[in-house]
Symmetry: C2
Subunit: 392 residues, 2 copies
């Protein structure tokens, strides 16, 4: 196990109706004027935004609204948010939505207190040292951004999708009401489940030895997702399944099960070009990407893939041919993702074979990239092209 | 799953040699004059205390020393610590040791800022609202107190052993260097492993339905302990096994795998009378107590005991006789604890049959107790006597 530091000081409020206490938590964590940042119309139509506004009114906390966050959130809206916050002397960002809205909120929060271009953080030119406090009301279990120090933004010029990390970005509080996820369309629910599973695999695929405790935690969270995923697809109103998935989504990404081990993130990096290019759901892109990446890299450590196949997917261990077990595990993952309605091919994402070289180039060389992906296995442009081709 | 709040803002610094940075973290978390609280002579003899003093000297942070914490820490030393802190204007407690030292430090931290008798917190007469900040340098993986809001103290008058909880007690920072545990005697290492497993079982035994995600996390941590425990008993210098156990010990008790579910804690309550009465190691007491308690209560939910037997201990599921599987799991736990050198009988703890009635009485009726234990099953005095008898 490697050395590490771990600090996850987010206050979680979990359960039915808890979003009605938003104002109380804004106050407790020092917000005196708030930017409410949100996405499309669903939180307006459902009345969620009104309930949150009411709870802020009750605490006499003024707010400014900024909606319009898209999936794969864009830098344009971040610049706008930064401008509003400075002009209005906002001192807390309240994200009402899923990972996209929370990530956009984090970018605004860091950008407000930075003299340069906030994009510097996303292309590695500057480190995030401070940010306005962020609070969240989560409406989709997926990205884990409600408990993580991470944010992913897409820059319109060139459609570069990049991530930034900073401890200052961890939300001060996050309100998790599983009921709020019950109205999600099945495709979004399934994409969220896929993203959670991807966050677990990205941590599981490690070159660090002797990491049994985090291996076992990750495997446990995977098994919980495999149990709860189909239940919630079958019955979107299954509160308990929603609740289990929601906590798993947070635990999968707050990094308590990823500490002390080198992690992968190649599936995420390779997928990012797909969702940036074709604007598909990140989770849908991951469903297509993961099996291809795993098949391409499994020979680097067959034992690891056999272990997850056996322990998590219940594949019989073939002791003389562990690669068969490893492969069976990847097929089991693929079947599972298909069973919850996720795509499995390039075409289903609207992706085109002729874009492969360009995407691979942006993926490994674009916008300050070093010319390769590191992680479980080092991948160059040709590798990434090969992987995209496997998805066709 | 039940509603809950979860807030675990401890800063963890994990790895070799990290205790030499203690001064830096004291400073970062605002300590300007520190009480260094510790136990016996081992941290003096090993040079650990000197290294910590040096790192405080380097940061020019003055300190006062208070050693002498015993296993099953006593109220007498807490009163002394409170007096010193007030007289010397101490603003941070630095615990150097295991659960006993950390728990004693937490009691002092809460007591300093309280006008009444600190024991009020431990007999439920007052709630902990504030405390001096506590930092820890952990020297034994066991109690999980380095990441928990809990503290257990024994009052000399009557030898009442009682716990208190308060979010203000969560350490501000905890330094976890697995190397520091390599010099522990095997008995203490094994007692620590047992305590960690007990913290997992106490959360696992629940009457709350639909808790798959936390079930799976708990099971994963248990399996990691079963894997690493024997390795560290075989080779005390196995750093990686020590490291896995140390992180498991924290995760087992910071409650991220216990949220949203009713918990048990009857094994702890019944054990506390043993360690209070005979001054045995808490973990050793738990090794004798757990199998007895589990056999006594398993018929309340055979499925739960069969599940842990099958998933964690690898017992074949007997579908027509699940109670056989359940029992096999309890026997597997008992064999495991014996294999790492833990006692399995009352006599090995130095416990006496003639004390049973008195202990059961104190356990359920003593010092403000309601006359029964609640948790997975409600237990009255007769039940507790029956359980003690099963240990003979």
């Amino acid at each position: 196990m490697q050395n590490f530091t771990f600090y996850a000081p987010t206050y979680f409020v979990f359960g039915q109706g808890k979003e009605n206490q938003t104002g109380r938590y804004v106050k407790r964590f020092g917000g005196t004027k708030v930017l409410i940042h949100y996405g499309g119309g669903s939180c307006v139509r459902s009345g969620l935004l009104d309930r949150i506004k009411e709870s802020l009114d009750y605490e006499e906390i003024p707010y400014v609204l900024l909606g319009g966050v898209q999936p794969n959130p864009r830098s344009g809206l971040v610049y706008k948010g930064i401008e509003i916050c400075r002009k209005e002397n906002i001192d807390m960002i309240l994200a009402v939505g899923g990972g996209s809205t929370i990530d956009s909120s984090k970018a605004i929060a860091a950008g407000v207190l930075y003299d340069g271009d906030f994009w510097d953080f996303y292309e590695g030119k500057a480190r995030i040292k401070k940010a306005l406090p962020v609070g969240t009301v989560l409406t989709i279990a997926a990205a884990g951004s409600e408990g993580s120090p991470d944010s992913v933004i897409t820059k319109e010029e060139g459609m570069f999708k990049r991530g930034a990390t900073g401890e200052a970005l961890r939300p001060r509080f996050s309100i998790l009401n599983p009921e709020l996820t019950q109205t999600l369309p099945p495709h979004q629910t399934a994409a969220g489940i896929t993203d959670i599973i991807a966050h677990l695999y990205e941590r599981y695929l490690t070159t660090t030895e002797e990491v049994e405790v985090t291996d076992r935690m990750i495997e446990g969270l995977m098994m919980a997702m495999i149990h709860e995923g189909p239940r919630v697809i079958e019955d979107p109103n299954n509160y308990d399944a929603r609740a289990n998935i929601m906590w798993a989504g947070m635990m999968a990404h707050n990094n308590s099960c990823g500490v002390g081990r080198r992690q992968d993130w190649n599936s995420h990096n390779i997928e990012h070009e797909l969702s940036a290019q074709y604007d598909c759901a990140h989770g849908a892109g991951l469903a297509v990407t993961m099996p291809a990446v795993f098949k391409y890299v499994m020979h680097n450590d067959v034992t690891r893939f056999a272990q997850v196949a056996n322990r998590v997917w219940g594949c019989k261990m073939d002791f003389y041919h562990p690669e068969r077990t490893a492969l069976a595990g990847i097929e089991a993952l693929k079947s599972f993702l298909k069973s919850i309605g996720m795509p499995t091919t390039f075409a289903e994402l609207g992706a085109k074979e002729e874009d492969i070289e360009k995407m691979a180039d942006v993926c490994v060389n674009g916008d300050g990239r070093p010319g390769y992906l590191s992680g479980f296995v080092k991948l160059d442009k040709q590798d990434v092209m090969n992987i995209y081709r496997m998805m066709i």
